[in-house]
């Protein structure tokens, strides 16, 4: 009897000595900061506009993280879903004179999801298992071909893109840049962040974590790994679509570059800089890079060489710090996460 109690006590100390989880703490701090931002910046409307942009781009970075950090697809195609959804809401506003957010935002997500599903079906599913290199090139080619197509297509404004997009509306209220739009963007980010987090921590997430460790082994267990990849890819397409629609509404403009590999790669940089495979990493990365860009853009000499700085950042990250900013503070064990109910000693 006394021996039994002894073991229990030992196990409990074992549980207690586990380091406090950092990620949820970081997530809460970020949430609090983002909620407080518009109140702190109330006197600087241009900064609220900037932050709204950052939130919308965070969604794009989040969608890339789902692809790369969670299912190992190097997707250069996130901008494709982003851009096409942006064009669709712009066209719906122009030709159908409709911009109610309860209609257009789900439509944008549907478009993103369908496009991603179609691309995934073509690239991933099928009798021959594709190499990850081929998948990366497939998404790159898709985005590149779409950019070229749109840049030459008169109906969608060709190289000039579509400008003065009809404002996003809810009933008779129209959203312009500012506090209200910020709230919408923040709400969208929080909802899809939580949804992604739920998926990453679910049994599906466990399969994904297994795939990251050893894809072949999971395949031998009988999991159809390509189907899981396609599912996550489709979900990420929906998020990218939502992000693209919000971006179009917020900027009032969309152009061919919003479809192309250039923007996709920017999303890659956001995500890797913050730390991929953590969900909060891409958000931190987007905020850090965009704010840095805003601060540095004041100097003419630096603004011209901003892409060079981005390139150096990407190079340094992939060479020396592949886990990104978060990798500096969060342990590998926590990034991978734990699954299922923790077994209590008894």
């Amino acid at each position: 009897m006394s021996v039994a109690t002894g073991t229990t006590a030992m196990r409990q100390t074992g549980v207690r000595s586990k380091p406090l989880p950092l990620l949820p703490f970081i997530e809460l701090v970020m949430l609090a900061a983002l909620v407080a931002t518009p109140f702190v910046l109330a006197s600087r409307p241009e900064l609220i506009t900037l932050m709204t942009n950052v939130l919308i781009l965070s969604l794009l970075a989040l969608s890339f993280d789902l692809c790369w950090g969670f299912s190992g697809i190097m997707s250069y195609g996130q901008a494709l879903f982003f851009g096409v959804a942006g064009y669709v809401v712009a066209l719906v506003g122009r030709d159908l004179d409709f911009s109610q957010m309860w209609g257009t935002l789900p439509l944008a997500m549907l478009i993103g999801a369908l496009l991603a599903a179609a691309l995934a079906a073509f690239l991933l599913l099928g009798r021959k298992t594709p190499t990850s290199i081929f998948v990366a090139f497939g998404t790159l080619t898709g985005a590149y071909a779409a950019e070229r197509l749109v840049a030459g297509w008169q109906y969608v404004g060709a190289g000039n893109g579509l400008s003065s997009i009809k404002l996003m509306a809810l009933g008779s209220y129209e959203f312009v840049e500012g506090f209200e739009f910020y709230s919408v963007a923040l709400a969208a980010l929080v909802i899809f962040y939580l949804l992604s987090r739920m998926i990453a921590r679910s049994q599906l997430g466990l399969v994904l974590a297994g795939m990251r460790q050893n894809e072949e082994r999971l395949a031998f267990f009988g999991y159809r790994v390509q189907v899981f990849k396609a599912l996550i890819f489709t979900f990420s397409g929906a998020i990218a679509g939502l992000s693209g629609a919000l971006y179009s509404y917020h900027q009032g403009f969309t152009g061919p570059t919003n479809l192309g590999p250039g923007l996709s790669t920017t999303a890659v940089i956001y995500c890797l800089f913050g730390g991929s495979g953590t969900l909060i990493g891409p958000v931190i990365g987007t905020i850090a890079i965009e704010l840095l860009s805003y601060v540095l853009a004041d100097t003419d000499a630096i603004r011209q060489f901003w892409p060079v700085i981005l390139g150096v950042v990407l190079l340094v990250v992939v060479m020396f710090q592949p886990t990104g900013l978060l990798g500096l503070v969060v342990s590998a064990r926590e990034r991978i996460g734990s699954f299922g109910a923790r077994r209590r000693a008894g």
């Binding site: 090139f137 590149y144 297509w153 150096v312 190079l315």
Partner: protein, 285 residues
């Protein structure tokens, strides 16, 4: 008939440039399994060398001859310092080389000041056969490409370096066990691929005005060509480049140009999906 010959000549000239670019890309992809996203910028550096020589009164000719060596040296340094870290992770290598490309491209853009610079053709003019005029410079491009292909083939199949390269390609572990320094071979291969890109850049700069984006426009097509032809072969990428180049030049005659451009990519991608091993599967080097 005249028109048809002219058309074939133009396609041949365009395809030659593609082949030069793709050959360098294909050699690197076959040997090290790395798809070099900075390849377009190596082309740009070749073009920029010609511009610098022209600007400093050394004549464009000097530039054309210098370009492969300069860019080859740049490639060698890049491989020794950066690229070699990525051999184990080809996907990360894409990002790494993309970053290198971005840095080079934007620095050159800054140096050019955002302007387009026209470079005169080192040998201008045209010659006539049977009443038809052919541009001398384009003919020179075609001839150079044929010479480079023949040279590469002889180098790979007839020399001891070629034997070592083929050995390292076939089985790197065994090659290392036999005392072949694969590390040095990889560095040389990368430098060689870079030199080909530099040569391509030097040859095309009189046709297209020099701008920072001169190389990147070929990049996606070149990647598809390599995959289309088959990674790990010598003839594959050349054939792939010919196929993609021919499609890019020929499709606008069949469908409206707006659709033709993206269609090339879609068709090429679909073929690669259905036949991932590429055109050439027998007689791998």
């Amino acid at each position: 008939m005249d028109f048809a010959i002219k058309f074939v000549f133009d396609i041949a000239a365009f395809t030659s440039v593609m082949v030069l670019i793709v050959l360098g890309l294909g050699v690197i992809a076959s040997m090290m399994g790395i798809f070099n996203f900075a390849h377009g910028e190596l082309v740009l550096l070749g073009a920029y060398t010609v511009y610098l020589c022209d600007e400093h009164g050394m004549g464009a000719w000097t530039g054309v001859i210098l370009a492969p060596f300069v860019v080859g040296a740049v490639g060698f340094v890049l491989e020794r310092t950066i690229i070699r870290r990525f051999y184990a992770t080809p996907i990360i290598a894409m990002l790494g080389t993309y970053a290198i490309g971005l840095i080079i491209r934007e620095i050159v853009r800054g140096l050019l000041g955002g302007h387009y610079k026209a470079i005169p053709e080192p040998i201008s003019g045209a010659f006539a056969i049977g009443g038809m005029e052919f541009s001398i410079w384009r003919s020179f491009i075609i001839a150079t490409t044929l010479a480079v292909i023949a040279g590469c083939y002889l180098l790979l199949s007839r020399t001891s370096i070629g034997l070592r390269v083929r050995g390292a390609l076939e089985n790197p572990m065994l090659a290392r066990a036999c005392g072949i320094s694969t590390g040095r071979l990889y560095a040389l291969t990368f430098a060689f691929g870079a030199a080909l890109a530099g040569l391509a850049g030097a040859l095309i700069v009189p046709l297209y005005a020099l701008s920072a984006d001169i190389g990147i426009r070929f990049l996606v097509q070149a990647f598809l060509s390599v995959m289309l032809g088959g990674v790990g072969t010598f003839e594959g990428p050349v054939l792939g480049a010919a196929a993609v180049g021919g499609m890019a030049a020929g499709l606008p005659w069949v469908v409206i140009p707006v659709l033709a451009d993206p269609l090339v990519f879609v068709i090429a991608l679909a073929i690669v999906r259905l036949r991932p091993q590429g055109f050439i599967t027998v007689g791998r080097l």
